[in-house]
Symmetry: C2
Subunit: 99 residues, 2 copies
Amino acid sequence: MAITSKKYTDKQELVAKFANALGHPVRVAIIELLNKQSCCYHGDMSDELPIANSTLSQHLKVLREAGLIQGEINPPKTKYCINKENWNLAKGLLIGFFD
Amino acid sequence: MAITSKKYTDKQELVAKFANALGHPVRVAIIELLNKQSCCYHGDMSDELPIANSTLSQHLKVLREAGLIQGEINPPKTKYCINKENWNLAKGLLIGFFD
DNA sequence: AAAACAGTTCGTATTTATACGAACAAATGG
DNA sequence: CCATTTGTTCGTATAAATACGAACTGTTTT
């Protein structure tokens, strides 16, 4: 093992973070829904996806914490969109990773 | 929820499978090592990575089961390579996913 | 003010991931 | 044949992911 305090490079951590966020089919499906119409209400997605509402909230949180999406809360509705800046960052990193 | 027996499309499952395999920084690092020199012995990687040997074996297994790499066992050495066919499949899927 | 609506968070159960050392396996060198 | 080398698998401990219903939080409607 290399004697560094940090185990992995920032780039490796970032690639892993984005990849990990996309590492569940329902999150892939969520992103596809958002990409199809730019933004989407929680309820719209809930109608399309085979999971409980609370579970959907959790997956949305994972995507939000990875930076791939952002939510705008206007109770009782919440609108989610792709975070384009980070989306492009992820795109660049992943494409670069695959050469 | 849609009333389908299958919860997600094959494509969504595949994207998630590949993404999940890349969802840990050490696996990203492993792939980078393999891409740098096409093939690599377990021991070479073990020298570069901050994890125990047995843990490395487990991560290699994850990548192997996702189809991204393949191992050639010639005891006591094992050589790992990128599985180019699946690598290109993953590349295409991921790039397509990001538009 | 009470009920309804749309989500989120909490509590919890179950599964999967991650990590390590010890034990094992398969070929090679003394 | 026994020791060494190189990985793998096993046993195990701990942490993280996944899923659901129940309870909660703000608006809006009645």
